[in-house]
Symmetry: C2
Subunit: 429 residues, 2 copies
């Protein structure tokens, strides 16, 4: 089912660079076969993979029980054990997500633009898969299926490297997926799971420029920071979500409160959560807004003018303006007009998601034009920063880099393009 | 005219990292002002820059004479002196190129796509400048003007680092450009020329992730290789142009000969030149094709079957299939059908430009679909691999990487996008 030479190397090799190179080379060959399949064939193969995943529920849950027992024995935190745990419902959800990705429109082969030059040469840019994508992730075993499905849908090979806590779960999910994909004609080497938990293998993936085309880290900040610092391969990621909401002088007070409460408190641990609230000095209901946040259990760290509004506000330190709390904590500053708000955001935003609340459309358009973040919003909660909420169907991640793809990245971000030039014998004068 | 703090640091500092950081920070501020200008304002400022360049012709030519004298004294090769030399006609050409870039359609602000979700949130992706672009180049002083103009047209700041051979020419061109741009309202820090020829400053640019958004190397292979090996900033470049032309069994013999001669011999030193010719074993006029190339002065290095066609063919070594000659030398292999041609290209192409010559449209479409290079051509000379020939008006370079932009890169490749989300108070359930 899999390439025998690679299989042998995988199990025998102790050299992580040789291992990664062998995996990537076989992935490249498999990716070319995958790319030559039709969109319908790739979709059908993903449905087979979802079927196999459900049919293998017993094996996957048994493997997961092993990981959970080992995790408990190692004293893993409850939150991590929860991220790791599977049950029949969660497994059905994973299979359903694979089917949903299978049914997304395929960007591969789309004509981006076309034109004909006066000499008769016809130029066309068409979307093609990027090639081989490396996914480096932590304890969530669902990433094994999610990431593999997104890569395969867009014609890419996936090299998966999951966390050691989930090693048995990942192997069981991977085995089921590859079995289903193979039934659908996808070469097994198109989706490979790193056979070792040796951390040097991660380093070898990050160094594999030319062999791996893009790395997507999925996990906490320390993982992303390490990947960004060490990678020679382009990385699609975000490190911080230091997201601002600016309540303009002309904001509707009720809307401002409901957006601020939602942006901060709906889920505090996601990258789209608001971390800094900027309140215009001319917004009349500043006191009520700050009070409402504190009443709902949010710790507010404010500048002097915000502290003067409510005795419960804690003094913000200089660090607070550059801190992603991922908790029910919020830094709040009072700003004198939109220029001051834009200057604060230019200085402190991590370029993820920044929002304005205002009934003044001119102010809103200026904010949307001048704030230089991946996502800029008017009159909406920053918690909408999510591929599903954007209507993309899924996401491989959210990117705050400036090249290739920004914001929520789904299938299109897993493609690139090539130029097709059609002539009738033209030579260059 | 320029930021005083930076100016002081520029002339006094001996720490290349501090110098690059100071330049990049002032460039970031200037870039935001540049991005807030209208497209017409940026175009008008570039016309002013072109005017100033022509008005400064005496100063530029005098500076160039200094560089030429120094270059002769140092014994620079004639080809390098020619690349370095300016005269009134060449200078007029540089100014004309700046005006042509000024008149190109501006990609900034283009709406890429837009859609509304069922909850009423309206999503729009619009093109925005990338930010700060570092250009590292060698002896051609025209790059100072070309690269600056392309960056400014698309709202980007440019940090220019030219070769030491052209230091006086570059300074004179840069001074004239910045003067004209400033008359048009572009902050002087938007286009900065590295004030030192210290090679460590190049290293500092390559390391300046987060300060510089993209590096474009313009020059020979050793420069590009160093940049690609050392950069922590994303690089837009190509290292090799190992370009194939496959003459299919069903190729018209006259077309095959004229395309092959043009692709190899029109100009042998450009990256779009053909370096390997693949002749199908069923192409009847293989002998005539090889003979015509040799008759025109091309050295042909062939495999055994090609050698059997003409006694003048030299035996190719294994290295020849991976060599970019940039000279009147060509490797030629005979292949058994399109599968063998595709396999040879998959193994040896540098992903720049590969072409098929055939009257069989099905074979052509298969080639265009399966060859995974930035540019794939049917019945045309690979020497068309050029932004001007593609109708892009200009190019900052040709990219063989797989992310962001591929093939000839002009203004669109100097932009990225952001998501604008317009709501009416939506919060996430």
């Amino acid at each position: 089912m899999t390439n025998t030479a690679t299989q042998t190397l995988r199990s025998d090799s102790t050299d992580p660079e040789a291992l990664v190179a062998a995996m990537a080379r076989s992935a490249r060959v498999a990716q070319r076969q995958l790319a030559a399949m039709t969109s319908a064939e790739r979709a059908a193969a993903l449905h087979r993979a979802a079927d196999r995943l459900e049919a293998s529920a017993d094996a996957v849950l048994e493997a997961n029980a092993k990981d959970l027992a080992a995790g408990e024995a190692r004293g893993l935190a409850k939150a991590m054990l929860d991220r790791l745990a599977l049950n029949p419902e969660r497994l059905a959800g994973i299979a359903a997500a694979v089917r949903a990705v299978a049914d997304l429109p395929d960007p591969v082969g789309q004509v981006i633009d076309t034109h004909t030059q006066p000499n008769g040469l016809k130029f066309q840019r068409i979307r093609v898969p990027i090639g081989t994508i490396g996914i480096i992730y932590e304890s969530r075993p669902n990433v094994t299926a999610d990431a593999a499905a997104l890569c395969v849908r867009a014609g890419n090979a996936a090299l998966l490297r999951g966390g050691s806590e989930a090693v048995h779960s990942n192997r069981a999910i991977h085995a089921a997926l590859v079995e289903g994909l193979a039934e659908g004609g996808v070469p097994a080497d198109a989706v490979q799971l790193m056979p070792t938990q040796d951390r040097a293998a991660v380093g070898a993936m990050l160094a594999a420029a030319g062999l791996i085309d893009m790395i997507v880290p999925r996990g906490g900040k320390s993982l992303v920071a390490r990947v960004q610092a060490d990678a020679r391969v382009p990385v699609l990621a975000h490190l911080d979500g230091i997201n601002h909401t600016y309540v303009h002088a002309a904001a509707d007070a009720g809307m401002a409160a409901s957006i601020a409460l939602n942006a901060k408190l709906r889920r505090t641990g996601i990258c789209g959560a608001m971390e800094t609230l900027l309140i215009d000095a001319d917004f009349p209901q500043a006191r009520e807004l700050v009070g409402a946040l504190i009443d709902k259990g949010c710790e507010v760290r404010g500048d002097d003018r915000i502290r003067a509004l409510d005795g419960r506000v804690i003094a913000a330190s200089a660090n607070d303006w550059d801190t992603e709390y991922l908790d029910a904590v919020l830094s709040v500053a009072m700003v004198d007009g939109i220029d001051a708000a834009l200057a604060h955001i230019a200085r402190h935003s991590s370029g993820h998601t920044d929002a304005i609340v205002t009934a003044d459309d001119a102010a809103a358009e200026r904010f949307l034009a001048e704030v230089d973040s991946a996502i800029v919003m008017h009159n909406a909660s920053s918690q909408f920063a999510d591929g599903g909420e954007f209507g993309l169907g899924a996401e491989i991640g959210i990117a705050t880099g400036r090249l290739h793809a920004r914001g929520p990245v789904a299938l299109e971000g897993l493609t690139t393009y090539k130029w097709q030039v059609r002539g009738q014998g033209q030579t260059r004068p």
